[in-house]
């Protein structure tokens, strides 16, 4: 499922056994084949449950905010497994001084794209009990019989327009010339929205956002949302809320959150991946990324640690607020 899998597991074990690392942040084998969970491993024996396969979509960078703070007396570093796209989030967190870099051992792992089990199920596949992959075809075994699906059709949203196979930060790399991922146009969805009339666009977002249950999965999974205390959790803020209090808040919550991470969002896609109601939240972020690119020149948050983003870097050529009316509100 991931050609580097066996090497990764072996190397992690070595690094822990020889004391280089004291802890590992990785993915733990699940109940089924597709539901591995991010987990912290603290002993060599516990690594028996470590996995790296096509269902390890979750981005582990954000876990390093907490886990790069070493408990008193711990000497070894904390190892984290990062896929190429995850490393952008890690760098961005370094830029924001949220991770203690010296305590982290980044094992960069090659990635051939991740599979979204929800997309498999959306093809009418139920009662899944096993799967095997060969030549780009995933044969899913279910209690209702077998079904073949093309891996290309069930990739996690972010993998449909792969960010590339380059790790922008690592201490050690295990990759095996993974094939370039699909090089689709990541702004295609944004362009489709821009092409709509404002009424159509409003109707689209109204339907999508009306599903929001304010579970905060998007916020909590988002590596750019790393405030120590979110204003929406702070009861003294006056706007702490556990549900959308009215339809205005329902529409604005996600737009405001996207603005808050604009210029810092690395387009890791966790928000959309984790949303239990399937709201395509990444479209907000991509709209802002596209605008930033158009106004300030191509910019990729997290490409290097310590970089100064266009939104916090004044230049005389900066776009004026007038642009909003010049673009007729778009």
């Amino acid at each position: 499922m991931q050609r580097v899998s066996a090497k990764v597991l072996e190397r992690v074990r070595q690094l822990m056994a020889d004391g280089t690392v004291a802890k590992v942040v990785g993915w733990k084998k699940g109940e089924f084949f597709y539901d591995c969970a991010p987990s912290v491993f603290e002993t060599v024996e516990s690594l028996d449950d470590l996995v790296y396969d096509s269902f390890c979509a979750s981005n582990l960078s954000k876990y390093m905010i907490k886990n790069s703070v070493l408990p008193e007396g711990q000497t070894g570093k904390v190892l984290v497994l990062l896929k190429p796209c995850d490393t952008y989030s890690f760098n961005q967190l370094l830029t924001e001084h949220r991770i203690q870099r010296d305590n982290v051992y980044i094992l960069g792992v090659g990635c051939e794209g991740m599979v979204d089990i929800e997309k498999v199920k959306a093809q009418g596949v139920k009662g899944i009990i096993g799967a095997s992959e060969k030549d780009g075809i995933l044969t899913v075994e279910t209690v209702y019989g077998n079904k073949d699906v093309a891996v290309r059709d069930v990739l996690v949203n972010k993998c449909e327009t792969c960010k590339g196979k380059t790790h922008v930060i690592y201490d050690e790399l295990i990759s095996e010339n993974e094939d370039e991922g699909p090089a689709g146009d990541r702004f295609e969805g944004v362009r489709a929205l821009e092409a709509m009339t404002s009424e159509e666009r409003f109707a689209f977002w109204k339907a999508e956002l009306s599903k929001c249950i304010r579970c905060n999965a998007c916020r909590n999974a988002c590596p750019a949302c790393s405030c120590r205390k979110c204003v929406f959790d702070n009861n003294a803020s006056g706007i702490a809320s556990k549900a959308n209090t009215d339809s205005f808040e329902e529409k604005m919550f996600h737009i405001i959150r996207a603005f808050h991470v604009a210029g810092r969002c690395t387009d890791c896609g966790e928000c959309t991946r984790v949303c239990p109601q399937g709201i395509p939240l990444h479209l907000f972020n991509r709209k802002y990324i596209k605008d930033i690119n158009e106004f300030y020149g191509d910019y990729s948050a997290g490409e290097t640690a310590g970089q100064r983003g266009p939104l916090i870097n004044f230049t005389l050529n900066d776009v004026e607020p007038q642009i909003v009316s010049d673009r007729e509100g778009n």
């Binding site: 579970c215 999965a217 556990k242």
Partner: protein
């Protein structure tokens, strides 16, 4: 038993909606949640689980309780009356039906929750059997028979018909009101459908899951102090997804919202995963996330059974298995901490 041709099911729903409010799984932007029937709404038998459970009909995510308004030196206080219109909830599966029983024990008895109680009194639950249960289903672990939900009306999808049986007075009244739309039939078709679903249930990967190691007979502190909680919670994001999609989570918070003209005091689902859950003046409510994570599972598997004659606070719908952003869930907890103990 009564039946109607499956092709006529949307007519059946329209007939119910003609006399009272009807809630059923309704699609919005690709996702199904319980919502009000409107003309043109169709029933999709391929959807097993709504995202939010049917709980949301009786115990909505947020509802107003009282409104306060200041007018000069006067303060007016207007309580919001509980809803008292009859309604029907259609399409509920066995897990969600049994979920109501879990909520009932909490809300129907002293102190009685007027809002929930009124909705329960006025609501008629119309279940539909699980035709194609999924690998994430484990209602059997809690003694639930997916083929016998025990709602006001139970129904089974058999060949090209929906076969139904009223179990309560409310259910009988509903079926009577549908009159000539329904025809009489015997049990054969329903029995056949039940047997087919049972066969599938037996093949599901969680068919053998059991509750050993939990419930009222195990030692509370031993379970509470198990070292494994830390590792189980280590990946948890602390979001509220599991609690909000759960048919049995019942905790709520009461808050005030200033509209600028008045204060609306409303209650809203809370989540034990949140840092301010049950926050009090001392400020030391479960300050660590592992403690918050533990609370959720201890409540379902230990505190609730302790309080209610051994009945578990989980119905095995599997929504948390499907929706948790990091795929941590009650089954993993049960397998890790349970067993032969």
């Amino acid at each position: 038993m009564k039946k109607i041709a499956f092709s006529q099911i949307d007519n059946l729903l329209a007939a119910i909606a003609a006399t009272q409010k009807l809630y059923m799984p309704v699609e919005t932007a690709g996702q199904y949640n319980y919502g009000e029937w409107t003309p043109g709404t169709t029933y999709n038998p391929d959807v097993l689980h709504t995202v939010k459970s049917a709980k949301s009909v009786f115990f909505p995510q947020s509802e107003d309780l009282i409104r306060f308004k200041r007018d000069g030196m006067n303060l007016s206080i207007s309580p919001v009356a509980p809803e008292d219109e009859d309604f029907v909830v259609f399409g509920v599966h066995a897990c969600d039906v049994k979920g109501f029983a879990v909520l009932d024990r909490v809300f129907l008895y002293d102190p009685v929750d007027a809002y929930y109680t009124s909705r329960r009194k006025h609501g008629t639950i119309f279940s539909v059997m699980c035709k194609a249960p999924e690998e994430t289903c484990f209602c059997g672990a809690f003694g639930i028979d997916a083929t016998e939900p025990g709602a006001d009306v139970d129904s089974w999808i058999a060949d090209d018909a929906l076969v139904m049986r009223a179990n309560t007075e409310k259910g009988e009244k509903l079926l009577e009101s549908l009159g000539s739309l329904l025809t009489d039939c015997d049990d054969t078709a329903a029995d056949q459908a039940k047997a087919e679903t049972k066969e599938i249930l037996g093949k599901l990967p969680l068919a053998d899951l059991n509750t050993n190691g939990f419930g009222k007979d195990v030692d509370l502190l031993t379970l509470f102090n198990r070292p494994e909680w830390k590792e189980l919670a280590s990946g948890c994001l602390g979001c509220g997804t599991c609690t909000y999609v759960c048919p049995t989570c019942q905790c709520y918070d009461v808050r005030d919202y200033n509209t600028g003209k008045e204060i609306q005091r409303f209650r809203v689902w809370d989540s034990c995963m949140y840092s301010d859950f049950t926050m009090m003046a001392h400020g030391t409510n479960r300050p660590d996330h592992t403690q918050r994570f533990r609370q959720r599972f201890m409540h379902k598997l230990k505190y609730y059974p302790d309080r209610y004659e051994g009945v578990f606070g989980c119905v095995g719908c599997g929504r948390c298995l499907q929706k948790c952003p990091i795929s941590m869930n009650i089954v993993k907890v049960m397998k890790k901490l349970g067993g032969e103990a």
